[in-house]
Point group: C2
Chain length 346, copies 2
């Protein structure tokens, strides 16, 4: 059976990640990971009439590019799954209309890329699908006006703020029984994971998402260790999505209180995305942050066996502007997946 | 393998639906299905400060009630999956915080209950989970103000309009290998399904959702027949979610153009929900429509073997108020699942 522990699963047939792609904005391209991304746009509208349409186009492009890297087309997909931050996930929905593969729409806020890879890898491992694309996107300009203020107001951000990443990332998962040729990645497998629960420590400050999301990340990480009987030393790196600086420090504290010290093995995609001098306070955030860093920076390191086994968990804050205005605190969630080099950690 | 045809899957271990529950509003309770629903509230705020909080409470209650029917608790769940119509699926997200089971957030607009049962049944069939709750909700008052106008304006609805159902429905899916006692349902299994693609025939009238969604339903139904080598006569009924009167007529035309006449075997949850004299124009809509009709009206008929095999597909319109204002048409999606009596159709 594929169950292990209370909330975790193992993938006995070890589905492969065979390709990935990323598409980011100008500011992301000027950050420390700039040279890793597949496509960097100078104009974040892509010449389209709205930022929302531009975000959807980025989503679509990341999927098409990940497929094009091995001469595949969207008709080769069993399914595309994913989502974004916009109301009614219109970036993903309209991209799915163009791509015309079967579509499973997800909403996990910034945890979406983990959620999609988790579900996609189980459906492939179980034999229900052959090849799945999991993708996620976010866009600074569409997110700011939906969640905070119109950009034109020029509102100053607070020190705990993070900047929504403009970008989309896509990962292609394929049944290991049907690996029949060379792919962009030939040595990356997904071996298991842990489904997250919604956690809420009562944080109400929508400008401090890192603090709101750290409890969910800590809970999933510690549950994962207990379910698998592992500890931080069993993973070369533990990557979170977008806790930022403040949230990462909180994560170390929370894990320590459950007996695990992850500080020396942890990296956060939100911290990796920007340089200190890019004026982004606590780092990057948004569905596109973890999705693009995984696609373009982390996966190639696993392919080259610079990382042999990682725990990857994107983290989502499950709030809306309406729930915030109604006085609700910010619940959050994190799903974990184990990604390994085919030759494992030995 | 669990794949069949191009976009379909079969569930060899035939997971059971062991329980379900529904929670609806006053108007739904006064409709023709009123006597079937588990809980009917008179005051659609449930005494809470906002309609959004009331919707989330309905979501949570439907899950707890479906579990309570066989003395189970949320800690017995491997996972809860579902969603709703509100921005960032706050009804489901906040319900998940209270229920504290692992959570997979979905967005498929009104197709959500199909999407959740489809994914849940594959994860259970594959052995990754033992018991899953799939739920979905909608609320007339929270949806109207988010998608259309504040209720206080008293805007008159058009003849093609449908009324968003106030209600939440939940279905409990369990691994057939672990059926160890009597459950509220003992004779219902899920045997397969078809993953929908996003279809768009260019409809831009947000007051005519039936027309926008009929092409997605037709495409999924006809793909399903081709993938499984079946035809309408192989199903006692084909239920769609909320096409309403106008959308159902369009569905018959579209299926006929692909060689299938489904008109004599089709029912629509949106048409079943309200009486003509309830002033709802084309019928009910919303995630809660298909979810409550399935939970309380359709599943008991299968348990009693009045229906031996059905095709169930909820239908979603993947638009947002922003995409409509930006001039976009309305893409839609429908996922199909086959639900059977354990003794089959023979």
């Amino acid at each position: 059976m594929g169950r292990i522990g209370k909330h975790s699963f193992i993938l006995k047939r070890r589905p492969h990640i065979i390709s990935s792609a990323s598409f980011v904005g100008d500011k992301e391209g000027k950050g420390p990971l700039g040279s890793y991304f597949d496509t960097i746009c100078k104009d974040d509208t892509l010449g389209l009439p709205s930022w929302e349409q531009a975000e959807s186009r980025m989503f679509e492009s990341s999927v098409r590019l990940a497929l094009a890297k091995f001469d595949a087309q969207s008709s080769d997909l069993s399914c595309m799954m994913g989502g974004d931050l916009l109301n009614q996930i219109i970036s993903a929905g309209f991209a799915a209309r163009e791509i015309r593969a079967p579509f499973i729409g997800l909403y996990g806020a910034c945890s979406t890329i983990s959620e999609g890879i988790m579900i996609g890898s189980m459906l492939v491992d179980g034999g229900y699908m052959d090849m799945v694309a999991s993708a996620a996107s976010s866009h600074f300009s569409s997110a700011e006006r939906q969640y905070r203020y119109p950009l034109e107001m020029g509102v100053q951000s607070t020190p705990t703020c993070q900047r929504t990443v403009t970008g989309a990332g896509c990962v292609i998962i394929k049944d290991s029984a049907n690996i029949d040729r060379d792919y962009p990645f030939n040595n990356i497998v997904i071996t298991g994971g842990t489904v997250g629960s919604v956690e809420d420590y009562g944080i109400t400050d929508a400008n401090n998402m890192g603090a709101a999301m750290a409890p969910a990340a800590a809970e999933t990480i510690c549950t994962h260790f207990r379910d698998f009987g592992t500890s931080p030393k069993d993973y070369d790196r533990i990557f979170t999505g977008d806790l930022g600086k403040f949230g990462s420090d909180m994560l170390y504290e929370l894990c320590r209180s459950q007996g695990y010290d992850i500080s020396s093995r942890h990296d956060d995609c939100g911290k990796l995305m920007f340089d200190d001098d890019q004026n982004v306070h606590c780092g990057g955030s948004g569905c596109g942050c973890a999705a693009t860093v995984l696609s373009s920076y982390i996966l190639p390191m696993i392919e080259r066996r610079e990382l042999k086994r990682i725990l990857f968990l994107a983290t989502g804050a499950m709030l809306s502007p309406v729930s915030s205005l109604q006085g609700e605190s910010i619940p959050s969630i994190a799903h974990a997946i184990v990604i390994e080099h085919t030759e494992g950690i030995g």
